[in-house]
Each structure stands twice: as C-alpha cells, then as structure tokens.
Amino acid sequence: MACLVLGLVASVIASVSPAMATIRPTWFHLITVGWLTQLIFGVALWMFPRPPTAARRDAWGWFGFWALNAGLLLRLLAEPLKIFSNRMGGLLVLSAFLQLGAIIALVASLWPRVRER
C-alpha cells in the first residue's frame, strides 16, 4: 500500500516537471512491482497451502520482502539523482540486483506451494 501511494505521488511529480519525467519508469515500477506483485505474493504466501515438510519461518519469503522494498526505494532515490550525477549508476546497479534477487527468492518461496493435493 505504501508503494502504491509513493508511486502515485511520484506520478504527480513526474507530470508536473519535465525535468522529473525521467522518474516515469520508477513510479510505474512502484505500482506494478511494489504494489501489484507484492500484493500477489502477500496473498499467495498466506493462502496457498504450505507443504507439510516446510519450515515454519519462511526465510526466502522474508529475504524477498526486504530485498524487493530496499531495491525499489534505492531506485526511487537513484533515478532522480542520476540526472545530476552519473556516479549514481552504481546505486541503480545495486537496486537492479536487489530486485532480481528478491524476485528469485519469492519464486523459490512460493514454488513448493504450487502443487496438486
């Protein structure tokens, strides 16, 4: 929900100033990844049946949650700052790896729950 609100605020900022139009991909991803994909995983990890042998604490799921949100927030900072300094490219790379790692972790967490009875 926080990502949805942040994404919508960023969309307003991007539409007000032409210089800030560069954050357009950021607000789009805040909504589609930060809100929609996270909502899907939140509900799926809640409702899909857990395998009987699975550990009670879902380490992959928690890592995915923190890495995804850290990656998105880093992108939210790095993308506008990249207009002023090319050094911010390193933050974008870190953000990309955090988000990719998060998605792989969330897929690993959900995969065993996608099964026939």
């Binding site: 490219g89 790379v93 959900l110 996608v114």
Partner: protein
C-alpha cells in the same frame, strides 16, 4: 489445485523470474550507458511481466477458484481453457521475439494471439461466474 492451474502458475513464476532478469539487465545497461544496445529487451520485459506473469496468474487462480458447475464438467470446457493458455503463451513468446527480430508482423501476430487466448478463456469461464451474492441473508443478482 487442478493440473491446468498448476502448470499455468508455474509458467507464470518462470515468466516473472525471466522478466525480472530482463528488467535488471535494462537497469544495469542504463547505469553503464549502454541502454540503446538492450532496447530489444523492452518488449520481452513488458510481455513477460504483464501477460506472462500477471494475467496468466489471474487466469490460473480464477480457473482454480471460480465456483464449480453442478452439472457436467465441474470447471466447464477444460479443452477450451487449455487452448486459451496455449494460445496466450504462444502470443507472449511471439510478441517478445518481435523486439529481438524487429518485425512488426510478429508483434501483430503475438498480440492477436493474446486477444484470441483471452477471449477463449473468457468463453470457458463465463458460465462459472456467480450469478448472485448473498448479503445479509438476501440474494442479490450480479449479472
């Protein structure tokens, strides 16, 4: 979970991982100033994330949880639903290739297949939609 939903959900998760890898590649390329060399990944990223992941997941879950029919096959015409999933996946892969091969014909064919797949799925699921909901003991019609 029916077998069709199982395979569609697994396919959706694979699309998500591959689409995220394409997105991460685009971000790294942008940071390195090599974005133009990777723009062919954009259609693949969009197709995989929007249709392959989000839409397919919604279709797979709805095929699983929509109310079962009381007569005939419980989930309606299964062959029609299988066809819908095959056509949509064919469309996603074809439209994704269009960016790589830079051919408008492939993009049109891919998007056309996606429309056909979505329509086929809608037809297969239509009769499973609830006609009414019960609210405070009263049955209210929906459609």
């Amino acid at each position: 979970m029916p077998r069709l939903s199982l395979w569609a959900l697994r396919a959706a998760l694979v699309y998500l991982a591959l689409g995220a890898a394409a997105g991460a590649t685009l971000m790294v390329a942008r940071a390195a100033g090599a974005y133009q060399s990777f723009v062919w990944l954009i259609p693949l990223h969009i197709e995989f994330m929007l249709l392959g992941w989000t839409v397919q997941l919604a279709m797979a879950v709805s095929y699983w949880i929509l109310p079962r029919r009381r007569s005939g096959p419980v989930r309606g015409n299964e062959r029609l639903a299988v066809t819908a999933f095959i056509v949509i996946n064919g469309g996603v892969l074809t439209a994704s290739l269009a960016g790589l091969l830079e051919t408008g014909v492939l993009a049109t064919a891919g998007h056309g297949a996606e429309v056909l797949g979505a329509f086929t799925f809608a037809v297969s699921a239509w009769h499973r939609l609830p006609r009414s909901i019960v609210l405070r003991g009263r049955s209210l019609p929906i459609i």
